[in-house]
Symmetry: C2
Subunit: 225 residues, 2 copies
């Protein structure tokens, strides 16, 4: 479902070039559960943004679901993302002025579902991450780990075929982290493809395949498909 | 240096009351290195905000450095914080429109230091957290772990007597986390009092004393002073 070849990403900053990705080749089959590990600054989030069609590579090719992504217009990319991909961002990216449940409903706005059904699905997603009693809180009225869980609930509400989760347990205690990993296992068993970015080996161990990035290159791979 | 007695914090949300702290009593001696552990939502960040004079408790008393904090005006509190306390926030709280080095210089603005000295100290703090080559990047041009390290550098630049760090390694890989913990040990050996909030037992093990919060109450304590 993901076929990336020789991806490079260079940020030009005046007279300095930052090579965030230096030639990454990666294939992910439908239904896989794969973890991307690596040190801070190794290029994990950059790779996820390209895989999720949020950013274009400087070089290389990327085919998602058989479509050559570089040929798609911005609005076509937005459509692909909305129908097909769920995102959990490292910084959560919640809307500050709306409640938890409204934040979770957001991906459903263009889905054609009625207001009642949107609200019901958002509530259900929040219950699944243990936040049934925090639905009307705004992000600033939530703990760090609760904000992270709202971001997780939001990523799942559209029932995406592909989940891209960037450090989804970084702010969670062990027990809550395991509850989230159980949820991911459940969804993966139902067919969801999961790409999980994490710097924690314990969390990476939940995936069936692990890829390690260093300085923008894949330096290791182990596990099975 | 910290003497908190029966602290409570209640958030009133319409017809619902959220009891974030339900009576926390805590004493921290100068030079201690203490970790506060607990599940997501247990009250750790709320406690830190009260200890750091960023928020007032609903009940109980708090004495910092011999001063009854409830008697201080807002500007007196701001002065105490600026001279005495370094903060690493769970969400970093960096200014988006300024560079890493300018973000780190911020606590020095009212210190009476000249521009050159401020800049030198900020550069040095960034070097200590491994970001010498990222000084002019803005937060959006930094990885999550790099943003976290800018927040750590900023907390130390005023050489505070008390460091309050909320999940300072949440976005860092193991090697970088250990580098940060080594830095904290160094500073603690030089006399800095450190209160570290973490949900990771491995990180909490670096402190000499560990306190566990659950549902706004201290339920466990172990270690030495
Ligand atoms: N917009 C940008 N402009 C310049 N450099 C950037 C930009 N975004 C990222 N970088 C740099 O690219 C490198 C890779 O960043 P990336 O966010 O992918 O790392 P990461 O592996 O996700 O790190 P972390 O584990 O800390 O989140 C970093 O060194 C970062 O400073
Ligand atoms: N402004 C607020 N209004 C209402 N409730 C709040 C507010 N701030 C925090 N809370 C609630 O208080 C409780 C404690 O929050 P706190 O941020 O202290 O938790 P925490 O232990 O730091 O959690 P985490 O490990 O997830 O960061 C949470 O249940 C949260 O929903
Ligand atoms: Mg990242
Ligand atoms: Mg917190």
């Amino acid at each position: 479902v993901i076929s990336a070849r020789d991806l490079t990403k260079v940020y030009h900053m005046g007279d300095v070039d930052v090579h965030a990705l230096r030639g990454v080749t990666l294939e992910v089959q439908a239904g896989e559960f794969i973890a991307i590990l690596g040190a801070s600054g190794s290029g994990k989030s950059t790779l996820m943004h390209i895989i999720g069609c949020l950013d274009r590579p400087s070089g290389g090719e990327y085919v998602l679901n058989g479509e050559q992504v570089s040929h798609l217009s911005r609005s076509a990319l937005a459509g692909v993302r909305n129908r097909f991909i769920g995102f959990v961002f490292q910084g959560f990216n919640l809307l500050a002025r709306t409640s938890a449940v409204e934040n979770v409903e957001l991906p459903l706005i263009y889905s054609g579902l009625g207001t009642q059904e949107r609200h019901r699905r958002a509530r259900e997603a929040l219950e699944r991450v243990g936040l049934a009693d925090r639905m009307d809180h705004h992000p600033s009225q939530l703990s760090g780990g609760q904000q992270q869980r709202v971001a997780i609930a939001r990523s799942l509400v559209n029932k995406p075929a592909l989940l891209l989760a960037d450090e989804p347990t970084g702010n969670l205690d062990t027990k809550t982290s395991l509850e989230i990993m159980d949820l991911f296992h459940e969804l993966n068993a139902e067919g969801m493809t999961i790409v999980l970015i994490t710097h924690e080996a314990d969390i990476g161990a939940h995936a069936r395949r692990r890829i390690t990035l260093r300085d923008g290159l894949i330096v290791g791979e182990e596990g099975t498909r």
